[in-house]
């Protein structure tokens, strides 16, 4: 028996019950890797802990719960299929980190069900008569993008846009009018560029109500708050 083992005597029960704080659990797992006594005890106790859920009174999950989950699952499955065989299974969203351009107070709004893949969205055709084009700042070598504004409607048109990191999609954000630090809001517009790097995305809402349009890379279901880098930014006012 080692000194290290003596420190962890009696922890196996707390471990399999999930009753250790994360940092302590990590240390115990390091110990487990080298201590056969503790690892055997964990193996012995684990089946009892894993049986505990069955002591819960049986319940029927509400029907709407399945509907909500499957809407997300089907949307992501569709996106994966569109992304083709090179796309890996969606990765779990990484821990959300604050953007360097401090957006404390980003409004939490659910990403709605609409899914817009580049090239399949409707309403991108512009008649050219009243169209003004606003150059966007694009943080990718060789890429360019413009916001094509016709009346109150805007469409983002990009060229040579790189694909987002594997397992991610691009999400459009809109910063409403107000002070410069007004937090941008998520939209339901998710897209992937075509193979040649071109992409279009219809921007929801009225142009006169917004000061900026931004694009970040996000998990396939989109995010309520940004987790990726800003690749594109267009100022409308």
């Amino acid at each position: 028996m080692t000194v290290d083992h003596e420190r962890w005597v009696d922890y196996a029960g707390a471990y399999v019950l999930g009753a250790m704080p994360p940092d302590e659990r990590e240390q115990f797992e390091i110990h487990l890797a080298t201590c056969t006594i503790c690892s055997e005890e964990v193996d012995e106790l684990r089946p009892a802990a894993e049986a505990l859920p069955m002591a819960s009174p049986p319940m029927v999950p509400p029907r709407g719960l399945k509907d909500r989950i499957m809407v997300e699952v089907e949307r992501e499955a569709q996106l994966l299929a569109q992304a083709g065989p090179s796309a890996d299974r969606p990765e779990p969203a990484p821990p959300r980190r604050r953007r360097s351009w401090s957006l404390g107070g980003w409004r939490l709004a659910p990403v709605a069900a609409a899914l817009l893949i580049a090239g399949v969205l409707a309403g991108t055709a512009l008649d050219g008569t009243d169209t003004r084009r606003i150059d966007a700042d694009v943080d990718a070598p060789g890429a360019s993008a413009q916001l094509e504004v016709s009346g109150e409607k805007a469409t983002l048109v990009a060229e040579n846009l790189p694909a987002p990191p594997e397992g991610r999609v691009y999400e459009v954000w809109v910063q409403p009018n107000g002070p410069d630090d007004t937090p941008p809001e998520p939209t339901n517009v998710l897209f992937l560029p075509r193979g040649d790097g071109s992409a279009e995305a219809a921007i929801p809402g009225s142009v006169s109500d917004m000061q900026q349009v931004l694009v970040t890379d996000e998990p396939p279901a989109g995010s309520d708050a940004p987790t990726g880098e800003v690749i594109l930014k267009a100022t409308t006012s």
Binding site: A48, A55, P58
Partner: protein
């Protein structure tokens, strides 16, 4: 795909989930959501809390299906393990004061399973065995196991609540689980 998903074993359905098959995931949901929701409800104590945890857990499973390893246990164990972790995270985000458990309130919110298929009947029998094993423990051991597993409390929090030394609490957990394991017997309860 022409495949009768319902006839496939969980592990084979998971192979399809890994490839992004939404219908296969629906089968996993149908099979395991009652147990998942029951556990979530037992831990969270409210219907809305249970729904949030169950939704988070299943979406997490969908997105990380590749992490399921059949060598480490059944799909059911994997599902319930994720639900448990999600519920603990949710409980620990709340203050201790806010934590509520189904055993303390919310009985009127229960929606007991109505359908009694053969599979459910077998599950109920197993559930009865587990409850009996838990209830047979000395009350101080049963208490710390329930507070830890269903309440999401850490061993130090439990020690504070019970005004008992941390070592005593850990010892009760370990002894109680050992007794449960012996009572359940190897292989009698398939989770």
């Amino acid at each position: 795909m022409g495949q009768d998903l319902g006839s496939l074993a969980d592990e084979d359905v998971m192979q399809l989930v890994r490839r992004g098959d939404a219908r296969a995931f629906e089968v996993i949901y149908e099979r395991h959501s009652p147990a998942a929701f029951s556990l979530a409800y037992r831990m969270m104590g409210t219907r809305s809390g249970a729904e949030d945890v169950t939704q988070e857990a299943f979406l997490s499973m969908w997105r990380s299906g590749a992490r399921f390893d059949r060598a480490r246990g059944s799909v059911r164990t994997w599902v319930l393990g994720i639900v448990h972790h999600r519920a603990i995270d949710a409980l620990r985000r709340a203050t201790v004061h806010d934590r509520r458990r189904a055993g303390d309130e919310g009985i009127e919110e229960r929606f007991e399973a109505r359908e009694r298929t053969d599979v459910e009947a077998a599950r109920r029998e197993e559930a009865g065995t587990v409850r009996h094993a838990l209830d047979s423990l000395p009350s101080d051991q049963c208490q710390v196991i329930e507070l830890a597993y269903f309440g999401g409390f850490t061993h130090t929090e439990i020690a504070d609540m019970l005004d008992a030394p941390v070592g005593t609490v850990k010892g009760r957990m370990r002894l109680g689980l050992k007794k449960m394991r012996a009572q359940l017997g190897e292989g009698q309860v398939a989770i």
